[in-house]
């Protein structure tokens, strides 16, 4: 008769728990989050990269679309997690989106994650791990491995009265807080994976992706459902919109957005050369009335460096200069000065400003008028 030993029992338990977690088509444990791109990856390109981290030379797999653009990336990570002088193997496939954002992880065939006591992860623990790894701002990032390993870090009942809930204005959490940011019993696994995901690989991926930038590919990235993907893409385009004029309509949509950062980063993509286009100028100033002071300032600053200010734009400026917020009126005067807008209408508006009740504004206008060639 079959006798159930302790080992058999543990195996049955492990199979039971693994059976509850998501599995891939091939039967492996797999957690995949929302993708930046939903297009199909049809080929895989391998690049041997020196990541200058613990696993130095390793292969980065770029999973590419039919056009050769990155759809997602992966690394087959085999490393050791060491604690108390003992090391255990960590064998896992990690996935990234083309924006460097964490996509998910998968266990190779017959592999599963376990804790210090060799108990396999439960579904809840896999879910928690996946959620922790998906947070790029996890305070765990502020800790060195040394701190995690430190004996004191385990000591929840530390005698120190200074340790609890230490957070200041910029960063940091202390040892006890570590438990909030790790899978209990697998602190070192959590730490290793998080640092691997947000370490040098992320930067290599971003470089690969931006190396493939063209208007079509950027357009796809900007259509991502994930806001941080869109913000990341916009950040890569800072001051480069003149290289990709086809995406301008999307950029205008973002500028007009109620999401501040989306709008701000979209404005930052504009290069003064874009303003050579009359249509571009008209579209930009048409958004002006809905904007707050800070965003208007960025746009007016662009006009200081524009190759030309088209007549319709000059007309618009003359219409608004009197009613703008005072700091913006002063910036607009600088635009008039730099662009030598010395036509009769513009000068008429500035003369009106020179009679303002606000002595500060009046002086600014007078100083401008003094520089106008006779």
């Amino acid at each position: 008769m079959f006798k159930v030993t302790k080992q058999h029992f543990l195996l049955i338990i492990a199979v039971f728990f693994i059976g509850m977690v998501p599995v891939s088509n091939t039967g492996t444990i797999q957690y995949i989050n929302d993708k930046t791109l939903t297009i199909e990856a049809v080929e895989v390109e391998k690049r041997l990269i020196d990541f200058e981290e613990e696993i130095s030379i390793d292969t980065l797999y770029g999973h590419l679309s039919g056009k050769g653009d990155p759809v997602f990336f992966s690394r087959n990570v085999v490393t050791s997690v060491c604690f108390d002088g003992k090391c255990r193997l960590l064998d896992v496939i990690v996935y990234w989106n083309p924006t460097g954002r964490y996509l998910g992880f998968e266990m190779p065939e017959n592999e599963y994650l376990s804790k210090h006591d060799h108990e396999p992860f439960t579904e809840e623990e896999y879910l928690r791990l996946n959620a922790l790894l998906a947070d790029p701002f996890l305070p765990l990032g502020g800790f060195s491995y040394n701190e995690i390993v430190m004996e004191g870090a385990k000591d929840v009942n530390s005698e120190s009265q200074y340790d609890d809930e230490e957070i200041d204005g910029v960063s940091s959490a202390t040892s006890k807080f570590i438990l909030d940011y790790v899978v209990e019993g697998a602190a070192y696994t959590t730490y290793k994976l998080w640092h691997l995901i947000y370490g040098p690989t992320s930067a290599v991926i971003k470089q690969w992706t931006t190396g493939n930038f063209d208007s079509d590919y950027i357009g796809l990235l900007l259509e991502s459902e994930n806001l941080s993907d869109v913000l990341w893409t916009l950040e890569q385009l800072e001051g480069k919109l003149d290289q990709y004029p086809e995406i301008s309509p999307l950029i205008f949509e973002f500028i007009n957005s109620n999401e501040y950062s989306l709008s701000e980063k979209a404005i930052q993509t504009i290069n003064p050369q874009n303003l050579a286009s009359e249509t571009f100028q008209s579209n930009l100033v048409a958004l002006f009335p809905q904007m707050d002071s800070g965003r208007k300032k960025w746009i007016l600053d662009l006009f200081k460096k524009a190759p030309i200010v088209h007549p319709n734009t000059v007309t618009f400026f003359n219409e608004v200069i009197i009613d703008l917020e005072v700091p913006l009126t002063v910036i607009l005067l600088e635009v008039y000065q730099k662009q030598e807008l010395f036509d009769a209408n513009s000068l008429g508006k500035v003369r009106a400003l020179s009679k303002s009740d606000n002595n500060y504004l009046a002086q600014k206008a007078k100083r401008f008028l003094e520089t106008v060639p006779k």
Partner: protein
């Protein structure tokens, strides 16, 4: 040469030296005399820190004459001189709540330094520091100075007020500086000293907790590899050093590991740090620097830390809390955390309740979702005062509310409110408590500020 001729020649030579003791071009300084100067202006701002610089720029840009008195050599206070160059939070729940002059300066500093603003559209959760904007402190101080100059602000560094009296509808202030005393006659005073020093001199009541929040000297340590350190050994040595009396536990929150990992960034706690007088401020600076030196010497003895160095240290200790005015309204903890609205709300504030307590470290309590606090004008006006306001951390508030209100972003917003209110008060020849709020709101909006509507 005969002996007699030689003696005669030597006499001539020595006479020549006595007659012309200076090198060519040197001028003998006239005897020391303290210069006395008289100034008449519309508004005096005392203190050029986070609130004061903004207040002065606002007054100048609204076309009024303004003098800014600052006791050190640069503007920016906590952000620059004390080095806490992450000026609080300007966005709440996905929306901007503080803009205007303060934000304009931050925006410009970020741009000039080639930095990127955080993604304010992504909620910060419990980690409010994800929405902190890191600034280049020296650059920020230069920007503030140039903005003041551009707005026509009369900047007076190294000066501090010694006498303030209200006579016949005007304030008469006496200040002392290097080799100069100045008598300033003005219509309105805005006290942005942080310690309410001007309010104190003018005779208004101040409040102070028996135990104030500790001060912090910002510095940066280097010369060691965190991953190579034996942290358990360091902790044991640290405890031994505390037990022997070499180190004081509270000065680095009992956490030597955090001192090493943070490298000194906003980690020190100096009990009772008070910048109110030269004496108390000197004592706080000496305490803070001495504490740093003691810990440096201690660490230098330990394996892996032999080459530890101070790579940078700010000019002076940052002060979190000293005096607050007894104002027409005191903002309470309940007011702040419930987002209470007032008819005279003129600016917003958003930060967790953030009390640094010597015995217990820091326990920030995030505001509930959607809550944004606002600041009524009355909290900036001392009881029984005329033509006088404060802005910044010395506003009228209880201790817990103050721990959130004191942050730089909120202080910048308050500074602009006080500046705009002073301008309208000058124009209307009234006291700040009597200004038409609609006019102040309009002026603030015309200068880019985000202003609560006043609906309750």
């Amino acid at each position: 040469m005969k002996r007699r001729d030689m003696i005669a020649a030597m006499g001539t030579l020595s006479l020549g030296v006595a007659a012309s003791p200076f090198a060519k071009g040197d001028v003998l300084k006239e005897p020391y005399k303290v210069v006395q100067k008289n100034i008449t202006t519309d508004v005096v701002v005392v203190g050029g820190g986070t609130a004061g610089a903004v207040a002065a720029i606002q007054v100048g840009r609204a076309g009024k004459k303004v003098t800014l008195i600052e006791c050190v050599s640069q503007l920016g206070g906590t952000t620059t001189t004390a080095g806490v160059a992450f000026p609080g939070i300007f966005f709440a729940w996905g929306k901007q709540i503080i803009s205007g002059i303060g934000w304009e300066n931050v925006q410009e500093a970020v741009e000039l330094n080639g930095d990127t603003l955080p993604n304010f559209s992504i909620p910060h959760g419990r980690q409010h520091w994800n929405h902190q904007v890191r600034l280049n402190g020296p650059l920020f101080s230069v920007i503030l100075e140039q903005k003041c100059v551009e707005a026509g602000v009369d900047l007076r560094y190294y000066e501090t007020p010694t006498k303030i009296e209200f006579k016949k509808g005007f304030w008469e202030m006496e200040t002392v500086g290097k080799g100069i005393t100045t008598k300033i006659k003005c219509k309105q005073i805005i006290d942005c000293s942080g310690n309410a020093i001007a309010a104190n001199i003018a005779g208004f009541d101040l409040l102070k907790e028996a135990e104030t929040q500790p001060g912090t000297l910002i510095f940066r340590l280097g010369g060691y590899d965190m991953e190579a350190l034996d942290l358990d050994m360091i902790k044991k040595e640290y405890e031994a050093a505390i037990n022997s009396g070499e180190l004081i536990r509270e000065e680095f929150r009992g956490n030597i590991v955090r001192l090493l990992s943070s490298k000194g960034d906003n980690i020190q706690h100096i009990r009772g740090a008070d910048s109110t007088t030269s004496e108390s401020h000197t004592a706080a600076n000496i305490h803070a620097r001495g504490s740093l030196l003691k810990h440096l010497k201690f660490l230098k003895r330990l394996p892996g830390c032999e080459n530890i160095v101070i790579e940078d240290m700010r000019t002076e200790i940052g002060i979190r809390e000293t005096y607050r005015i007894d104002g027409l309204y005191q903002i309470t903890h309940e007011d702040y955390t419930s987002g209470k609205k007032y008819k005279d709300s003129l600016s917003y504030s958003y930060y967790p309740i953030d009390l640094h307590i010597i015995e217990h470290g820091v326990s920030p309590k995030q505001l509930s979702e959607g809550v944004v606090a606002s600041i009524p004008l009355r909290a900036l006006i001392p009881k029984n005062s005329k033509n006088f306001m404060v802005a910044g951390r010395c506003l009228s508030s209880d201790r817990l509310a103050n721990s959130a209100l004191r942050v730089q972003g909120s202080s910048m917003a308050m500074g602009q409110v006080a500046g705009a209110t002073a301008v309208i008060a000058c124009q209307r020849n009234v006291s700040p408590a009597d200004v038409p709020l609609d006019e102040v709101r309009e002026l603030l909006r015309n200068h880019g500020a985000i202003v609560p509507t006043g609906e309750v």
